[in-house]
Symmetry: C2
């Protein structure tokens, strides 16, 4: 193959909000597959809050991206060359292919995508890692029972939007917390949540009291910070808090804000449990089948926020932290 | 009956560390039992960190003590008069009899004590509420497995001292955190913990790394604050944190210090779960039998820190927050 592969490589560990200079855009030839590898042309790059964590040094559930390495990112591509027995040219693939235009891969963490089942962007959102995070975090960790009230923050985001819809499917009351009127309307009118709370304009504790008259039995936390503390005041006995993320804290230059109201866990015999979606990899396929069924039945809606242009990758990523996306934030890199 | 009953009544809701004026010592006649009641002469009053919470207004697992009411306290007494079918004069009883010299009770929350099984003070400590808290908090919430490392804070206190000993009985490594050399020696030399960390003179994170080379699988938290944050840096995948109390925070005049490092729960798929011992009331008797067996076998040691004199009640209570007790803090009010 001839031609150029552009890649965003990590140039520096960000302090606070990442800036363009924290990556360096490099050029290299489009790779040739080695034995056991395929090469994919990347069509969509997934932009996820977790990527901010991967840029940070220190022990986590996955090693950090090394300085100079291609920035880790989930992406969807089409195989253009293959020396791997199980991947053929023309197939669509989804996995940690990186922030680049072309990727060579040995298939680790990569799954195939059937483009006849759903539009390609859905495989990065509701049928991809964010959807799996919502599914397993809510059902396995949150364990909602019919009639319970499930609150989710980041409710208009890729994970939160799915959490609330699954809660409804399971017979719960779903209350979303999001920033701004447009997101709140999306959550209630488009997705069918019972209520949405605009944390930018409302007193969250007061609104939780209003929309959760029987208190909160399950809280799926994507944001941490003040909102976590507000929810802790309204949980009931035996409540389950799923710690999925804390986007409000990821760009802190000082310490993370710990939940001041955590002793509500004691008073309510409640729990707060962390989850990482990769633990459920062996159940992704069956979860995706169930979710695809809900989508086909009109019970689960998927929304993607698609930005075009590989070069905008760093700036588009920051939309996550500025709350500028509704639904799954994706970068469209090329046509299929 | 004739004679005077002295009572400490809550006079004001404390701000910060309680002071003597937050209670008022009143006199009344020794009560006569009404139908269905007994009257007990109180011999020992239990002084527990939870009492600080009961003085605070606001929703908790139990209503606060009302201003003007006798201060709620667990106590052990001997029945001196009875119009209750199931309580006889001469019997020993343990329950929420209050901070007073004589108590009338209908028996709610009161259990009988067999003084031939153990010295009376043990029934307020290892065989009483603190022992039950340790037993159920560790075994039901912490769920330690043989070979795991259990860390407990407040390790020389009434609850912590039992937690570490049960951890040893269950085949775990037990590491205690306590303040001062004397407490640390008590924990290792008398109680047989594998190690003790003196948070007043050691770097807790560094010492945890040293004594918990395989990380921490169970943490039983009695103190909150900086120590909780230190432990959170050393937990391993699937760790269980039992939130039993947070004595370092009870006298805060500002907000509670939330655990800054709580996102370690996410990274480690760990959980933090609150517990309140009264939930296990229907299993107290069988737990006490098992613990008495361990005591008889020399596997479980009980230590009480006994202060004499009803009038010292407020000042003695404050020893808990000043870390001045080793073992269960009790006030001896009268001879049997």
């Amino acid at each position: 193959m001839s031609g150029v592969n552009h890649q965003f490589r990590l140039a520096a560990r960000p302090v606070g909000m990442p800036k363009r200079d924290d990556w360096k855009c490099t050029e290299s030839p489009i790779p040739e597959p080695r034995d056991g590898e395929f090469v994919a042309k990347i069509l969509y790059i997934s932009l996820d809050p977790a990527m901010r964590g991967w840029m940070r040094e220190g022990k986590s559930y996955i090693p950090p991206v090394a300085i100079g390495d291609v920035m880790r990112a989930l992406a969807l591509g089409r195989v253009i060359a293959s020396k791997a027995a199980s991947f053929s040219v023309g197939e669509y693939v989804y996995g940690p292919l990186g922030m680049q235009e072309y990727a060579a891969s040995n298939g680790a963490g990569v799954s195939k995508v059937d483009p006849t089942l759903a539009p390609l962007p859905v495989f990065l959102g509701t049928l991809g890692m964010p959807g799996m995070t919502a599914y397993f975090g809510l059902l396995d960790v949150g364990r909602p029972q019919p009639g319970e009230t499930v609150v989710v923050s980041g409710a208009a985001g890729a994970v939160g939007s799915v959490v609330g819809q699954i809660a409804k499917i399971k017979g719960c009351t779903a209350v979303g917390i999001a920033g701004g009127k447009e997101k709140c309307e999306f959550v209630t009118k488009t997705l069918g949540f019972d209520a949405a709370i605009d944390y930018k304009s409302e007193d969250v504790v007061k609104s939780l009291k209003q929309h959760c008259p029987k208190g909160i039995q399950v809280y799926f936390d994507n944001v941490g910070g003040e909102i976590l503390d507000a929810v802790l005041t309204q949980i009931t006995r035996g409540a389950r808090i799923v710690v999925c993320g804390a986007i409000s804290q990821y760009n802190n230059t000082g310490p993370v804000r710990g939940p001041s109201n955590y002793l509500s866990l004691l008073v309510n015999r409640a729990s707060m449990t962390g989850m990482v979606v990769i633990d459920y990899a062996d159940r992704f396929a069956s979860a995706a089948r169930e979710m695809a069924g809900w989508m086909a039945a009109g019970k689960l809606k998927s929304r993607e926020h698609i930005v075009k242009g590989f070069d905008t990758c760093p700036e588009t990523f920051l939309k996550l932290f500025r709350g500028e996306n509704i639904g799954k934030l994706l970068l469209k890199v090329a046509d299929a």
